[in-house]
Symmetry: C2
Subunit: 98 residues, 2 copies
């Protein structure tokens, strides 16, 4: 299992129609084959400047790469993410038992 | 549900006994009352400099505050986290349906 997450802040005002439209478009990524446990999240800690998050899981690296290169994902990145996101941080996790 | 997460990098060398000891100590936080779905994670994205993560969930803010102020948590922060962690970022999430 690979959990792919991204915390981000939009250029749009909080609660705006543009924000809502962006998040609805982001949620559509959930239907790409191989995407599991897709979550749209609000980031609530005051210790960073991000306001939203996305989290999803993939069974393995092949499924993750399939998603990354999928035309719907790459189109979303070009047409929505790059123009509308002010800042972001990607964090990917795998389970670890020390 | 509140998901409390922290991505971090230790001062210890990767794979060292000191790293293992720190992570084992961090896992002990899972037994504090109210902590749910505690996960120890390895951070694998090359797009940031963090190498590990912790994730846990709380039913509500009261449970989160109970954890934050719990003597076992505050002792861990003082005795292990502050001296042994090189850098970290906390991200807290709640579910959001746009």
């Amino acid at each position: 299992m690979i959990r792919h997450t991204v915390a981000f802040r939009l250029k749009h005002p909080l609660g705006s129609a543009a924000e809502h439209d962006f998040l609805r478009a982001a949620c559509a990524l959930a239907k790409i084959e191989g995407v599991q446990k897709f979550e749209c999240l609000r980031q609530t800690s005051g210790k960073n400047s991000f306001t939203f998050g996305l989290s999803m899981e993939f069974a393995d690296e092949a499924a993750y790469f399939f998603y990354s290169g999928h035309p719907e994902h790459t189109a979303f990145v070009q047409q929505r993410w790059i123009p509308e996101v002010a800042e972001f941080m990607e964090l990917d996790y795998v389970a670890y038992a020390p």
